[in-house]
Amino acid sequence: MTVNIALFEMRRLFLSPFAWTVLAIVQFMHALVFYIFLSRYLQQPDIYNEHGLTEVVVAGYYQSSGLIMLLITPFLTMRLLSEDYRTGTIKLLLSSPVSVTRLVLGKYFGMVLFMLSMVIMVSLIPASLVLGAPLDYGQFIAAILGLVLLLCTFAATGLFVSSLFKQPVIAAICTFAVLLVLWTSHLASSTQSGTDDSVAAYLSILHHYNNFTEGMFNSVDLVYFIIMILLFLLLGIWRIDAMRIHP
């Protein structure tokens, strides 16, 4: 059932011009970022000696990609559940023999499938470097994995926030606010305690994501993303379940 819901949700995304427009804009912005990093790299050959091509271009590209996705995700996830509330299709889902867990997972994986297609498209740009230069595949794959985990976390966050509101626009604004707080929470640690092992630093998505883009695969980072995904999915399930009591 989860698969049915996920495939239907993904199909519906691709039915609308909105998703195609987002894909096109995301691709264009990434192409621009790639061009900037590559031209800067080519203009400063001294960096070339100290750092590798992957370290400069690919790592920088994926770090910027995280920021672009932070801006785009709220618009993608805002309708996930709030539209069902608004149009009444939530009543179809709640009166069907589908558990709330499967319903939320179906919606989530539908969005994740769409985001994976975005990751593939976006990753083709730096992959083109293979044609003319040696690439550190380890770092490249770590960065892709980091982006996948980042988007899975963004999707879970957006899904939960969308479950709280009937108006998609409010869901988008709140998702953006939550993601921005998570993204920048490390700033609180560096200004106050100055240590990297504070709670605020651990909570920072950027901190964990950058480790991946720099080619480091730490289980701490992986666990962080998994905890965040599970947390927001559980909150989403709890919210939908509670809707029958407090609509």
Binding site: R12, T87, G88, T89, I90, K91, L93, S96, P97, V98
Partner: protein, 245 residues
């Protein structure tokens, strides 16, 4: 008609904050019965239907669908349930076929049987010619038919229709009534309406709901006077009593 009880509601109450939506409602509906919930706007008909379908939780009381409690065994109970809410739950960016296929899958119909179920429900609701059209481009009457089609696609034992003839033209209304009567032979059907004539022409039993309570539960055949007179008398009397208290 037989005496197999398909819907059993016991002491249902629902409060929105401090406001009482329905209070202590109990009834049983057997297979083959078509029951109409009749009442003015805000009487609690839609709330009651949502509780019966597991969309809303009751503040107190229990609902059993075909022997399964809607809270304790929701998946088993909901398999036997088809529900058309007041506003048809449609994905307007899909075609009718895509939408009904999705609904069939949601209702656990086996993959091999899905096309047959879609065709059969389209046939019953007169949607054969619009299968490939976007739901958004259909008239309100056709959208209502699509809503009914999704409620009957899995041939459930219990069909709950909240104002099924809202927004449809007189011709379509007659067709929908015939469809409901036809389905009523094999299933239990609950429908809500404001229209007394509709209640009289389709159903064989009526529950008049007023201010969250059932003030009449009777078979139409045993009413001494026309339904219209009974309805007006009961709702006015109840209103006066409530004002006094």
């Amino acid at each position: 008609m037989n005496d197999e009880s398909l819907i059993c509601a016991r002491n249902l109450s629902r409060y929105y904050g401090g406001r009482r939506a329905i209070h202590n409602i109990s009834f049983t509906i057997n297979r083959g019965e078509i029951v109409t919930f009749l009442g003015p706007n805000g009487a609690g008909k839609s709330t009651l239907m949502q509780i019966l379908c597991g969309v809303l939780a009751a503040s107190a009381g229990t609902v059993t669908i075909a022997g399964h409690d809607i809270i304790a065994e929701p998946l088993l109970a909901k398999r036997q349930l088809g529900y058309l809410p007041e506003q048809p739950p449609l994905y307007t960016d899909c075609t009718v076929d895509e939408y009904l296929t999705y609904c069939a899958r949601l209702r656990n119909i086996k993959a091999a049987l899905v096309p047959h179920s879609v065709t059969a429900s389209k046939q019953k609701c007169g949607l054969n010619d619009v299968g490939k059209r976007l739901i958004a481009n259909l008239s309100k009457g056709y959208q209502q038919r699509v809503g009914i089609a999704q409620a009957i696609i899995h041939t459930p034992d219990v069909i709950v229709l909240d104002e099924p003839s809202a927004g449809v033209d007189p011709n379509q209304m007659i067709e929908i009534r015939e469809l409901i009567r036809d389905m009523g032979r094999e299933h239990s059907i609950i429908l809500s309406t404001h229209m007394l004539a509709e209640a009289q022409s389709i159903s064989d039993r009526v529950l008049i709901i007023y201010a969250g309570s059932v003030i009449l539960d009777s078979k139409l055949a045993v009413l001494d006077e026309p339904l219209e007179q009974t309805y007006l008398k009961l709702t006015q009397d109840t209103s006066i009593e409530m004002n006094r208290s």
